[in-house]
Amino acid sequence: MKLLFVYLLLLKATLTSFSGLASLPVIRADFVEHYRLLTDNQLNTAIAASRLGPGPIGLYVVGVGYYAAGLPGACAGWLAMVTPAFLIIPMLRFIGKRAEHPRVKSVIRLMLLASSGLLLYSAVPLARGAVTGPVSLAILTASFLAMAFTKIDSLWIIVGSALAGLLAVAI
């Protein structure tokens, strides 16, 4: 019963937020203040751990589930994280049938250009955190050029960047 409860509490948080840490206020109110399933310190650790690893920031709900109910709780957290993603399928089905209409086409085109501007916008704070000196700036520039103008597999570009970071510290 507790597992279902943890899942539903986390699902409530993920369903009412639209990105990353936006679900945090709801989770804190439920898990820390109301039901006291974890402490503030544990919540912070879960967030820090999700930032250390790869994948979306929203992964911290797995850590929250883990603290609340052990490994089964982590599974409940994982399920609460992926459940809302399936909502996109009925939405795509609806739009997909109308994709050839000229107005729909121009709507998509304008949104595509706006997404390009939004990507630049999201890159600004990340760049502030990531560029700490000439080495990281060089890695950023090299990976941009490799991604934009070559067909090199993205994985190798990322692995190469990690190695470059290690090399800089070693030297």
Partner: protein
């Protein structure tokens, strides 16, 4: 020309990119988009629809994008495979990291490697922005293209408008401005 990947190819791509890209959802979407484009699995228009709708889907936007893009490529089975491939390994890692974080402060070498991948994540986002801008670029419309991108950027950066409302505004503008 769009080619259809096998479920195995699809799962492996999601697995590799989803679990090696640091810095959160947007860089992961950027790298995934590049891989789909490089392999000819997803047309730029399909990417935009999946990306735009992912923004307005509740929950983690990146996961909605993964599910949506995979559904366009391989249907419901593709969406399930994609979500599992992207989230299960990193979720296991998060549990493990949560335990480690409690025990220790931080390791210099791990920190250096992560710093390198974070810089690459920013590079990949810039490359993705350029790739999106190039989709409909011709000799005649480069100025209006740059203008739309600049306006979207400025609305987010200087006027604190949320990404969802900016995409919404762009959509409404597209209803009336059909000759870009």
């Amino acid at each position: 020309m769009v080619t259809v990947p096998t479920l195995k190819q699809l799962g492996l791509t999601y697995f590799r990119i989803g679990n090696t890209t640091f810095g959160g959802g947007v860089p992961t979407i950027a790298v995934l988009a590049r891989e789909f484009d490089r392999r000819g699995w997803l047309a730029p228009e399909q990417f935009t629809v999946a990306y735009g709708l992912a923004r307005i889907t509740p929950g983690t936007n990146m996961l909605a994008f993964c599910a949506g893009a995979a559904w366009l490529m391989r249907g419901l089975a593709g969406a399930v495979v994609a979500l599992a491939a992207v989230t299960i390994p990193s979720a296991i890692l998060v549990v493990w990291l949560t335990r480690i974080c409690e025990a220790s402060g931080g390791n210099r070498w791990a920190h250096a490697a992560i710093a390198g991948t974070l810089a690459a994540a920013v590079g990949s986002m810039l490359a993705a922005a350029l790739a999106l801008a190039r989709v409909h670029l011709t000799n005649r419309n480069w100025l209006s293209t740059a203008l739309v991108i600049a306006i979207a950027f400025a609305l987010a950066q200087f006027f604190n408008l949320s990404p969802i409302s900016i995409l919404g505004l762009a959509g409404v503008a597209g209803l009336f401005w059909t000759r870009l």
